[in-house]
C-alpha cells in the first residue's frame, strides 16, 4: 500500500498547524514580517523619506500628531513616522549582523566543548564562556563602547562579543548529552571522524533550540542596541535609530510626548513580535506527543 509510510519531506500545512496552535505566534510572525517589510521599503513607503537623516524645517517643528504628520514632528520639524520607519532598518540590521556574527562561532565552540567533554577543550571554552557571562551584558557593552568611538558598527561589535557564550552554553548542554546517545556511538564504531560526528550527527539535532533562541534573541539584541543608542554610545544623531530618537525626544517630555513615546512603543512592538514568533518556532520544533 502506497503511503503506509509517508514519504519524508517538509509538510508545510502540518508545520503551519503546529506553529499556529498558539494564535499569538501568528500575530508575532505578522508583526515581524510587517516590520521587515517597512524596513526594506522605507524609502518608498515612508511619507517623508528625506526626514530620515539631517533635515531642518523649524516652521513645522513640535507639531502634535495630525493628518499631515500622523505621529507628529520632532524638534527640527522632521516627521516622526518616517523616522521610525527608517529606524526599523537600524534595529533589524543590528539583529541580523549581531546574530550572524555570534551564532556560528558560539555554536561551533559549544559543539566542540560538548564532544570533547571532560577534556581540555571543554575546560578552556566553557570557562571562557563563564567569564563573559559573569559580566552583566549591558555593562560589558557599555564599557566596550565607551572605549571605542560611538558608532553603530562598534555597538554591533560590542554586543557580538558578549553574546556568543549564550549559544555556546545552549549547544554545549545539548551536545554533551547527545554525546552519549547510542546513535553517536554507532557512528563512532562505524569509523566516523570527529568532524562527521560533530557536524552531521550532533549539530542537526541541536538546530531546533538554536533557531528558537535566535528568534527570541533578535528582540533582545534590538533592545540592547537601542539601550546603547539611548545612552549615546550607539548610533549618533541624526541617524534615525529608535534608541537615539527616544533619548533625543526625552528632553521634551512630558509636553511633547509624541517625539519619544512613539519610537519607544515601536521598540516594545518589535521585541514583542520577536518573542511571540520565538514561541511559535519553539512549538514548531517541539516533539509531538504520539
Amino acid at each position: 500500500m502506497k503511503g503506509a509510510i509517508s514519504r519524508g519531506g517538509f509538510d508545510y500545512r502540518k508545520s503551519w498547524h503546529k506553529f499556529s496552535k498558539n494564535y499569538l505566534s501568528a500575530v508575532g510572525l505578522g508583526v515581524v514580517l510587517l516590520v521587515a517589510f517597512v524596513a526594506i521599503f522605507a524609502p518608498y513607503i515612508s511619507p517623508y523619506p528625506s526626514h530620515a537623516e539631517f533635515y531642518v524645517n523649524y516652521p513645522e517643528a513640535h507639531e502634535p500628531p495630525n493628518w499631515v504628520h500622523v505621529l507628529g514632528t520632532d524638534q527640527f520639524g522632521r516627521d516622526v513616522l518616517s523616522r521610525i520607519m527608517f529606524g526599523f532598518r537600524y534595529s533589524l540590521m543590528m539583529a541580523v549582523v549581531v546574530l550572524s556574527l555570534v551564532v556560528p562561532p558560539g555554536v561551533v565552540l559549544g559543539l566542540v566543548a560538548g564532544y570533547y567533554r571532560g577534556g581540555k577543550a571543554e575546560m578552556v571554552i566553557m570557562r571562557a564562556a563563564d567569564i563573559f557571562l559573569a559580566v552583566p551584558p549591558l555593562v560589558l557593552a557599555l564599557s566596550i563602547c565607551s572605549v571605542l568611538t560611538p558608532s553603530v558598527f562598534n555597538a554591533m561589535m560590542a554586543v557580538s562579543l558578549m553574546w556568543w557564550p549564550w549559544y555556546t552554553r545552549l549547544v554545549y548542554s545539548i551536545s554533551s548529552s547527545l554525546r552519549n546517545e547510542a546513535f553517536v556511538q554507532a557512528a563512532e564504531i562505524a569509523g566516523a571522524s570527529p568532524f562527521h560526528i560533530i557536524f552531521r550527527e550532533i549539530l542537526p539535532n541541536c538546530l531546533g533550540p538554536i533557531l528558537t533562541k535566535m528568534t527570541l534573541d533578535a528582540g533582545w539584541v534590538i533592545l540592547i542596541g537601542a539601550s546603547l543608542s539611548f545612552v549615546g554610545l550607539g548610533a549618533q544623531p541624526p541617524t534615525p535609530d529608535l534608541g537615539t530618537m527616544v533619548s533625543e525626544g526625552g528632553k521634551f517630555l512630558p509636553e511633547l510626548w509624541w517625539i519619544s513615546m512613539f519610537p519607544a512603543m515601536t521598540i516594545v512592538l518589535v521585541i514583542l513580535g520577536f518573542n511571540l514568533l520565538g514561541d511559535g518556532v519553539r512549538d514548531l520544533f517541539a516533539a509531538e506527543a504520539v
Binding site: I5, G8, G118, E181, F183, A186, A190, E201, P204
Partner: protein, 326 residues
C-alpha cells in the same frame, strides 16, 4: 581453529564517579577465533556491555583501563592510534546495539545514514560513486531481510517499526563488519516473536558471511542455539567458560547452576526461585570472590581471595574454589 581473532586478557576497568572508584571489570578474559560464535551471558549490570565498549574503545570519558590487554588481528586495541582505530571500525568490526531507536540518528533518513557508512567502509581506497553507494545500500537492506528497500532508504527512523529498525541497524553493521560483529542484546528491546526473527536472521547472515560474533544476552534461550562457546559473567568476572553443550549439560560454577535453574519452564513446576541477593556494589568491592555473598558453598577463604580460572578439561574453565586450589 586457526589463530585467534580477538584476545581479551585480564581486563580491569573502573569508572571514576563522585562517590569514588567503581571497580567494574576485574580480570575479564575472552578469546574469539576466526568465524567463531561466542556468547556472553550474565545478569544486568555485570559488565557485559562495558567489556564490549572496551573492545570497540567507546568507553565513557570517566572509564579507566586499570590493566589488561585487548589484541585484535595483531593490533593492541587499547594503544591504537586514532587513525588506525578508525580504519578498523570502518573496515573490520562493528556492533549492534540493544535499542535500535536510540542507535539511529532521528533527524536523517535511513538512506543518508546507511550510505554514509557504505561510503566510508572502503578505507580511502576508491570513493564509490553515488549510484554504486545506493545499490550497495539496497543490497545491505535486502540481506537484512527488509522488504521494499528503496522505500526504507527514504524513510526516517520514526516511520519504521522496532523490528525494522533493528534490521536496519544490522544492515548498517554489515557494511563495516567484515570480520567481527558484536551484538549487544539485539533483541532485548523487541517483543519475543520479533526477537526470535532477528536472532534467526542474525545467525543466517553470520554463517553466510563467515563472521566472528560475540553475542551478549541475559536470555539463555536466545544464545543456546546460536553460539558454540559460552562465557558466563558475574559482577565483572568471567566465572565460567565452556562449549555451549558442555555448559548446559554440566554447569559447574554455583552461579551458572543457579542461573540455569532460574529459567521458567513451560512444563510446569511454577516460577523458579531465582538467586537470592543481588550484585554487590562495585564501590565497596573487595578482593574476595564476588559471588561469595550469594553462594551456598562459600567457605572462609572465598571471602578473602578471588578464585582464578581452573581448567577442568574439554575447554571448560571455571573460576571457583570448588574445582581446585586451596
Amino acid at each position: 581453529m586457526t589463530g585467534q581473532l580477538l584476545e581479551v586478557n585480564d581486563l580491569h576497568i573502573s569508572y571514576k564517579v563522585y562517590e569514588g572508584l567503581l571497580r567494574v571489570l576485574n580480570g575479564v578474559s575472552i578469546s574469539v577465533g576466526e568465524k567463531e560464535k561466542v556468547g556472553i551471558i550474565g545478569e544486568s549490570g555485570c559488565g557485559k556491555t562495558t567489556t564490549m565498549k572496551a573492545i570497540m574503545r567507546i568507553l565513557a570519558a570517566n572509564a579507566m583501563v586499570a590493566g589488561g590487554t585487548i589484541a585484535y588481528k595483531g593490533h593492541d586495541i587499547l594503544r591504537l592510534g586514532r587513525q588506525e582505530l578508525m580504519r578498523l571500525h570502518r573496515t573490520s568490526m562493528s556492533m549492534i546495539f540493544q535499542d535500535p531507536t536510540a542507535a539511529l540518528n532521528p533527524v536523517f533518513k535511513i538512506g543518508d545514514q546507511l550510505q554514509d557508512i557504505v561510503r566510508y567502509s572502503e578505507w580511502r581506497s576508491s570513493v564509490p560513486n553515488k549510484q554504486e553507494v545506493r545499490t550497495r545500500a539496497v543490497e545491505l537492506l535486502k540481506s537484512a531481510a527488509l522488504p521494499e528497500p528503496e522505500r526504507i532508504l527514504d524513510s526516517y527512523p520514526f516511520q519504521l517499526s522496532g523490528g525494522m529498525r533493528q534490521r536496519v541497524c544490522i544492515a548498517m553493521s554489515l557494511a563495516s563488519a567484515k570480520d567481527l560483529l558484536i551484538a549487544d542484546e539485539p533483541g532485548t528491546s523487541l517483543d519475543v516473536t520479533i526477537e526470535d526473527q532477528i536472532m534467526r536472521l542474525l545467525k543466517q547472515i553470520v554463517e553466510e558471511r563467515g563472521l566472528s560474533v560475540i553475542l551478549i544476552s541475559h536470555s539463555i534461550g536466545a544464545v543456546k542455539g546460536f553460539v558454540t562457546k559460552l562465557y558466563v559473567m558475574y559482577a565483572g568476572m568471567m566465572v565460567e567458560e565452556a562449549p555451549t553443550e558442555e555448559l548446559f549439560s554440566n554447569p559447574l560454577h554455583p552461579y551458572t547452576q543457579n542461573l540455569l535453574k532460574a529459567v521458567p519452564k513451560l512444563t510446569g513446576g511454577g516460577v523458579p526461585e531465582g538467586i537470592a541477593g543481588r550484585i554487590p556494589s562495585y564501590l565497596t568491592i573487595t578482593d574476595a570472590c564476588r559471588f561469595g555473598s550469594r553462594c551456598r558453598f562459600a567457605k572462609e577463604h572465598c571471602h578473602i581471595n578471588a578464585p582464578p580460572a581452573f581448567d577442568v578439561g574439554n575447554g571448560h574453565k571455571v573460576a571457583c574454589f570448588l574445582y581446585g586450589g586451596s
